[in-house]
Assembly symmetry: C2
Homo-oligomer: 350 residues x 2
């Protein structure tokens, strides 16, 4: 039989962070597509009634200040409230419910609705990172988990193109970080080193999955990525466990690499590339303190839905929902395609 070629032959790969496998079927890219296409992500005309604009009145009746950088306010339709009655204790292990307290905030990145991260300056992105750090500092004192995330594009359920993210803080540790807490701890106990530190070092040597890099950060398509162009940003120096651990050089370099990565994303299919992104770091809460989680390494995660073009996404449906994620190109192929994208945003080219 032929020699194994990862770019041609199906195999499964293990994700040690999530303790899950992904089926990689690169030969499937040959499949023609005649199914659903998405609306082209387009530049929406400015909406004068946009509730995220400086000076706008929101549905709560509150008026935004004339902000000129970032602006944070409470989500007017929060999934998590701070004060709610608690469910009674569960009597049956098959019908268990538990209290959930929390708070949801919205954070605008910029006063201009036509802006996006790759079009903003590094200083403007730096202001976003500083505000994230403030938010984590404040909410992390009270809450076990503070999830900062950006849903970008209508395809990701984002109803407003104004550049913004959300921050949901909760009294409980959600599923995804709960699993990462366990797997990283197990690795640390076994090897006495943080899993993602070891992983980052290997990726710097192997190079084949690197998309972007600067003095402080590296962006890779993880070896175990499930979304076609999924990426992860990892810090190279020291071991920041949370966003609040970053020094100024790391923050400035994070702004730089976010801009670089998102520019490549936009250039890939010449569109404002949709994704959900967010940060995972060590859990927070009243009992936590800097440096207390040596098994953790802070990282950013980008999960973009597109597969073939600006209008054809990867459907994570039947097999993926019921059995296991499946991908149609290898992470190495995805990394190469992104790496080869230009560093100048297509909108800034004349």
């Amino acid at each position: 039989m032929q020699e194994f070629k990862p770019t041609e032959h199906q195999h499964v790969r293990y994700n040690p962070l999530k303790d899950e496998w992904v089926l990689v079927s690169p030969h499937r890219c040959l499949r023609p597509w005649s199914g659903q296409t998405e609306a082209e992500p387009e530049d929406q005309p400015p909406d004068p009634n946009n509730p995220l604009l400086p000076g706008a009145t929101r549905s709560s009746g509150q008026r935004n200040p004339l902000y000129d950088s970032t602006y944070v306010f409470p989500n007017d339709f929060p999934a998590l409230l701070e004060r709610v009655p608690e469910p009674p204790p569960s009597e049956n292990p098959l019908f268990r419910s538990s209290a959930a307290k929390g708070t949801c905030r919205v954070m605008c990145f910029h006063p201009d609705s036509t802006m996006t991260i790759p079009l903003m300056s590094v200083d403007e992105i730096m202001a976003v990172i500083n505000e994230w750090t403030n938010q984590l500092q404040e909410l992390g004192r009270r809450y076990t988990w503070v999830q900062i995330f950006e849903n970008k594009g209508a395809i990701m359920g984002c109803s407003n193109p104004h550049p913004h993210c959300q921050i949901w803080a909760s009294s409980y540790l959600p599923n995804e970080p709960r699993v990462k807490e366990r797997t990283q701890k197990e690795y640390y106990i076994k090897f006495k080193r943080p899993m993602l530190g070891d992983y980052m070092k290997q990726e710097l040597v192997k190079k084949e999955r690197i998309v972007v890099q600067n003095a402080e950060w590296v962006g890779v398509v993880p070896y175990w990525a499930i979304w076609p162009y999924e990426t992860m940003l990892l810090p190279i120096n020291g071991q920041p466990q949370r966003l609040t651990d970053l020094n100024d050089a790391q923050k400035m370099a994070l702004a730089d690499i976010m801009k670089k990565l998102c520019t490549k994303y936009d250039n890939l299919f010449k569109c404002s590339f949709p994704y959900s992104m967010g940060f995972h770091g060590a859990p927070t809460g009243p009992s936590k303190a800097p440096g207390d989680s040596p098994h953790w390494l802070l990282h950013a995660i980008y999960l973009p839905p597109l597969l073939r073009s600006a209008t054809v996404k990867k459907f994570m449906v039947g097999y993926e929902m019921l059995a296991q994620s499946q991908r149609d190109l290898t992470p190495e192929q995805a990394a190469q395609k992104l790496r080869e994208c230009e560093d100048v945003h297509y909108k800034n080219k004349k």
Copy 2:
């Protein structure tokens, strides 16, 4: 403070099958929606070149027989192939890959492209179930896992409205059943009874999450459902561990309850209700035999994406991808809405 009301107050619920939690935020249903809407699932005009039609020539050059019931053929773009070179052994725990062998088949339910399960007769659905059983019997001899699943609707990545499902058989046990194997085994060791048998009995008593029921099956919105109108079909009598364990009465009643459930689904938003559905039963393979998995109970799972109407889906995005699933109405509210839908299909009413 007020008394706790599950229909008003946020809480988290535990899914003992998946060992995961879901955030239930019913107060969030009040949120207005101005984001992306989907194309109305509509009756597509018959395509004379439809490769799934009896007598059609497929892209492989193969010609379909003039079938008049079900018809199974190999997927022309399979994600899993039977014979492929295997990856070399992994040297690093962070870069593990492993061999994956398998086969992918397509199964047409009916010769008529305008048919769907709720519009088919119980006898016609019975033919589908019999063929599923044959397929599981054959493929289960060689493969560890045989995933039968239907992606229905363009929104679920289904590119052809002709009634059909897929069958992907693999040499590995995929993530989802691997977790269910573990959790059900743990429960069985602790309580000496199958988890889902206990669960089914409780649901028959509590009644509040039942959508449909007949002498052999009950359909519920699980206590821990993540999709707004997710349901599960559970057998009431005996303990079938796999589809191949069903007797004729159970198969006929399965055909009946599938038709009833899908009729209610279609009537909910007066559209051909999209979903991914499939079966989970005990793992298969050469070392397996009937009755060898007393911790398992066969069940069907329906995962429909719609939330508010035929065109507004639930976006499982940022928070859901990075932290934890969140739902906007309680499983009990969803069950009641479905239960109240008529039993006669809206297309069959004059």
